[in-house]
């Protein structure tokens, strides 16, 4: 209907202020030489930085998110199990791996394990080494010896450390998602003769995705930057580490950090676009991604959605 819309002066003031701030920031970007944009761009294109971006940051993020999500879903399901032992294990896992800082975990994986146990003797039972020592035997109760130092600085090892840590966070996210799916869905699947695991995979999880995706997006974007902790493995092929190396050599701290941040923003953009499409995919059949059309949602309600 033709009508004068409501004025929101407060809102427009807020928008104006934001625009002003944005203009100021842009203005300063353009005019302040200390940003040293030409140098920042050179750092972005610097071969070691690029290599670190691709071989370290991106690869490590993909790898550890794959481990984190798959293991996390398993742990999340364990936390909802009717078996108290499994439930306890799930709880203990989320407790421990959320409690230990990633930096410490990576450090433990990289140097700590080797420091504590230079050789990893896999005995036939726990305490076998100690027992042997106690009995005065030479420690022949050893099945295999792993030289921890041989593998400790590899990317794969770092990915495992980050993946284990991520799984604890993903477990909570998966748990919240699974809890949000109506029990009737599980029962309908059971009544069709689906096994619990099939029903989880085909019925519950796809519906839980709507609730799981946004926080998982958070985790992924955070992981992109947390891969910089791999420097504590130590592993130098990593975007942020290389940018910092440039900064400590040239003492041009700001443009080096800007270069790294620019790359992070590029990755974040790509991930957010991906997330948008994922949300749309898993919102099929729902009026889920409300941005699409509110009309759609309303129709669902009228047509008996949620019944």
């Amino acid at each position: 209907m033709e009508a004068v819309p409501v004025r929101h002066p407060g809102r427009w003031v807020a928008i104006a202020v934001l625009a002003l701030v944005a203009a100021m920031i842009v203005s300063s970007f353009v005019t302040n030489e200390r940003w040293d944009w030409p140098f920042a761009f050179r750092v972005m294109n610097f071969t070691p930085v690029l290599e670190g971006l691709i071989k370290g940051t991106i690869l490590a993020t993909i790898g550890s998110m794959i481990i984190g999500i798959s293991l996390g879903v398993v742990v999340g399901i364990m936390r909802l199990s009717s078996n108290p032992v499994l439930r306890f294990v799930g709880l203990a896992y989320t407790w421990f791996f959320r409690g230990i800082p990633r930096l410490v975990l990576v450090f433990l994986f990289g140097s700590g394990i080797g420091y504590l146990y230079p050789r990893f003797d896999i005995g036939p039972f726990p305490f076998s080494q100690q027992l042997a020592g106690f009995l005065g035997l030479s420690s022949d109760l050893t099945i295999a010896t792993l030289n921890v130092n041989d593998i400790s600085s590899t990317l794969i090892w770092g990915i495992i450390a980050m993946g284990l840590s991520e799984a604890a966070y993903m477990a909570e996210i998966a748990r919240a998602g699974i809890l949000s799916v109506d029990d009737g869905q599980r029962e309908a699947a059971a009544a069709l003769g689906m096994s619990p695991s099939l029903s989880m995979r085909r019925v519950v999880l796809p519906q839980a995705m709507r609730v799981i995706i946004p926080p998982t997006g958070n985790e992924t974007i955070a992981m992109v930057k947390d891969t910089s902790l791999l420097a504590y493995l130590p592993l130098g092929t990593e975007l942020f580490f290389q940018a910092q190396a440039v900064s400590s050599r040239t003492l041009k701290v700001m443009p080096s950090l800007v270069a790294a941040t620019m790359w992070y923003l590029v990755i974040t953009t790509v991930l957010m676009i991906g997330q948008y499409y994922l949300e749309r995919h898993f919102g099929r059949g729902y009026g889920a991604t409300r941005e699409q059309t509110t009309a759609h949602t309303k129709k669902n309600r009228i047509l008996g959605k949620g019944a």
Partner: protein, 274 residues
């Protein structure tokens, strides 16, 4: 077990007991349903009708008694006189023989009507997609939804959703169909569609146990009605006999309550019929 299978009715429930905590909901139910028979379960709210259906399909554990479906003891196997619980997979296999239609449809919202129907045959029975697809389309056709194959549940009316749910259950070719008040969540205008599908199913000889408040349906379609109250079977028999000449006080009380509701409708209907 299999030896007795021939002589046993399709559903053979003996002394079924079920309690939720201290609340005893089923207090020794004995019901037999022969192959091809249509049995309607009647009874006041809270009498345990839904719970009994769920026990048959092992959505609830029972505390005592046994239920055989098609000659197989539900949920257990007997070895040396001892009961052993079945594994999840074996329970799932038993459930495949039974189709269940819920009051609230419980369609999978992230799948189209066709996908809902195809899901179990393909993923549970591992059959070929093309073959299942043809069957599923035929099923959707029989429930009058041939044009809705690619609609999501949210895009269907309640009556359409319930018919998809029936097609989904039928796609597994079950020996027994359980209906739990399949029309009570539907607008009056949509009830008819679903009842018609069930009538056709009964006419084709499907064994069915139906919890319902639709007296007309019970009277016309059921071979037998079973009246439950307070967790026991109070009375059962030929629909007309039980509905018109209830023997027990509890049955009489329940029917007279329903009657007063129906009388009003009937009065209105009589006006309409003029």
């Amino acid at each position: 077990m299999t030896s007795s299978a021939r002589t046993m009715p399709l559903v053979h429930a003996v002394n079924v007991h079920k309690a939720f905590g201290r609340n005893e909901v089923l207090k020794g139910i004995d019901i037999d349903v022969d192959e091809g028979e249509v049995v309607c379960l009647l009874g006041p709210s809270g009498s345990g009708k839904t719970t009994f259906l769920r026990c048959i399909n092992q959505l609830e554990d029972i505390q005592a008694g046994r239920i055989w479906v098609d000659g197989d003891l539900a949920g257990y196997t007997e070895k040396n006189g001892k009961l052993h619980r079945l594994k999840d997979k074996q329970v799932a296999a038993q459930r495949r023989e039974i189709g269940m239609v819920f009051q609230r449809f419980n369609l999978f919202p992230h799948m189209t009507a066709l996908e809902n129907v195809m899901e179990a045959p393909v993923k549970v029975q591992g059959r070929k997609k093309a073959e299942v697809r043809a069957e599923a389309l035929a099923l959707l056709d029989t429930v009058g939804l041939s044009d809705k194959e690619s609609a999501y549940p949210a895009q269907l009316s309640g009556g359409q959703q319930q018919r998809v749910a029936i097609a989904r259950a039928l796609a597994m070719k079950p020996k027994l169909m359980l209906f739990d008040e399949p029309t009570s969540a539907l607008d009056p205008e949509l009830v008819g569609e679903v009842l018609q599908v069930m009538r056709d199913l009964a006419a084709q000889g499907m064994t069915m146990i139906v919890v319902t408040h639709e007296m007309a349906f019970a009277r016309d379609v059921a071979d037998r009605v079973v009246f439950m109250d307070g967790g026991v079977v109070v009375e059962q028999g030929d629909p007309k006999t039980v509905i018109n000449n209830p023997q027990h006080n509890r049955t009489k009380a329940f029917l007279s309550r329903l009657r007063s509701e129906h009388e009003q409708v009937a009065a209105a209907a009589r006006d309409l019929v003029v």
